[in-house]
Amino acid sequence: MGVAAKVGIGCAGVLALVLPQFLNTFWISLLIQILVFGLLALSADLLIGHTGLFPLGHAALLAVAAYTTAILEVRHAIPTLLAAPAGVAVAVFFSLIFGVAVRTSGVYFILVTLAFGHIVWGVLLRWSSFTGGDNGVGNVPAPTFGPISFPTLSSYYYLALAVVVVCTAAYRVLVRSPFGLTLRGIRESESRMRALGYNVVAHKYAAFVVSGLFAGIAGVLYIYWNRFVSPATTTLVISAEATLMAIIGGTGTIFGPFIGSAIILVIRNYVSGFLVQWMTVMGLVFIATVLWAPDGLLGLARRYRARRARDATSPDMASLPKR
């Protein structure tokens, strides 16, 4: 990691800690949302950037975690310490089932995950006696651990930040491990990986379940931020946005998904406040990404750095003797 990157991360860390003291609740709420969906995008990026699979149903994993925690808290008064892990566990359970999608690849994987997402959405909508139907589940209490509670947005912001930082650190270890390298090998050439002795499907399945774990954590963070969850959280739009966040920020990176999350959510929540055509802005961002930064913003930065390094080492053309 370069000095500039370290300074950048340090500044971002200080800002993340200090900034909420100077912001109103709208912006604090937006920051939490960026963290939550950044984590969802990061979980999707384990499949996109590292394994080479495009999931289009990750909102469903977030939603089942959110619903589980919400129902346990609201209807059964289960304490956060149990309700939150239960939400994550249910998300992992669903990803164990949805994980069979890894037996397919390419566009079929996209379609199978899309179908799974729609099944969850349909069940949440129709099984109204259990899920509340269109009304969803609301009035979720603030997360409380014994005597410690996080009732205000700014206090919850710090809790969410801590959880996201820990998850991101764990994720970073994971992608730099032998297992992480294995996933990138699968992304590059499945046939070669099989010839080298890898059970490709097993590794992809494991990646899917780990991805589901992080998506589940994002779901629990989501429910304690929003205090309400409805089938709208499960729609294709949310799943697609998680994928787009990773792509805009830079796939296969640690911070890319969070940068992408910030860009998309600021457009949706802030720009939409004064620009009716905010959807057009979003569309332009997507098109610009595809045209000029297919590796995302961080990929763009990396390419720019590589070019600078090359220019610095190659001889200065002007100083060469003329013919």
Binding site: V173, S177, T182, E188, S189, M193, A195, G197
Partner: protein, 248 residues
């Protein structure tokens, strides 16, 4: 009788109505260098794909050190000792050269599942990867991405990947194809230096490589094994000359 290292018994593979491999029996004793030759479409690569398990045969059996592996998955056969290279270079394009070899090294160990430690933790693997790259002459390019390698260097890496998984049976699909004479010589030298514990089956069109390395040659034509003999016998055969010149 000693068991064979690798053996195909009455092996057939049909794609629709096309019999790419049609009742081939071939048995390679341990340590032998066996060349597979034959014109394009003779079924050489298909035979390889059946031996490694990337294709399942339509009929027949495959034995590896006396064990029937016909229905054993490809990655398990690798764990049992098969290694291969691909005719069309099949390496990890966006990874660095050393990462390519590291993947080959951890493929046959449980280490590939380790998720809580950084790659940097496994120093011995990095050292072994360095040694493998040294062997094929790529040590100087360890930290470059494959995308920046020349075609010849990629072929060398292709071979390094197969060797790094420490196979007992090595299947090489045209290891020298498309290389310059100098690079060809280098590959031939690397292969000649391999210990005799490794059994080698290789497909090759370049007769100088075949004659230099092979103990025995099997000739495939239209999916059938039509001849088996020493390189000199095969070279002297009128029938083989006619097949290659297209007079049959």
């Amino acid at each position: 009788m000693d068991q064979y290292a690798v053996e195909a018994v009455n092996l057939s593979k049909a794609f629709g109505g096309v019999h790419a491999v049609d009742g081939v029996s071939i048995a390679v004793p341990p340590g032998q260098r066996r060349a597979l030759i034959g014109p394009n479409g003779a079924g050489k690569t298909t035979l390889f794909n059946c031996l490694t398990g990337s294709m399942s045969p339509s009929a027949g059996r495959i034995m590896l050190f006396g064990k029937d592996v016909t229905s054993v998955a490809e990655h398990r056969r690798t764990a049992m000792g098969i290694g291969r290279t691909f005719q069309i270079t099949n390496v990890f394009h966006d990874l660095t050269v050393v990462e390519n070899v590291l993947l080959a090294l951890q493929g046959t160990s449980r280490r590939k599942w380790v998720f809580h430690r950084s790659m940097d933790f496994f120093r011995s693997n990095w050292e072994r990867a360095g040694a493998e790259l040294e062997r094929v002459g790529l040590a100087g390019r360890a930290s470059d991405t494959v995308g920046s390698l020349s075609y010849g260097e990629r072929r060398q890496l292709e071979l390094a990947l197969a060797l790094a998984s420490t196979p007992r049976v090595l299947l090489l699909d045209e290891p020298a194809s498309g290389l310059s004479p100098g690079e060809r010589k280098r590959i031939a030298e690397i292969l000649a230096e391999l210990q005799r514990e490794i059994t080698i089956v290789f497909i090759e069109h370049d007769m100088s490589v075949v004659l230099g390395l092979a103990d025995k040659v099997t000739v495939l034509h239209r999916g059938r094994a039509i001849m088996e003999g020493t390189p000199d016998e095969v070279k002297a055969s009128r029938e083989i000359q006619e097949i290659y010149l297209g007079n049959v």
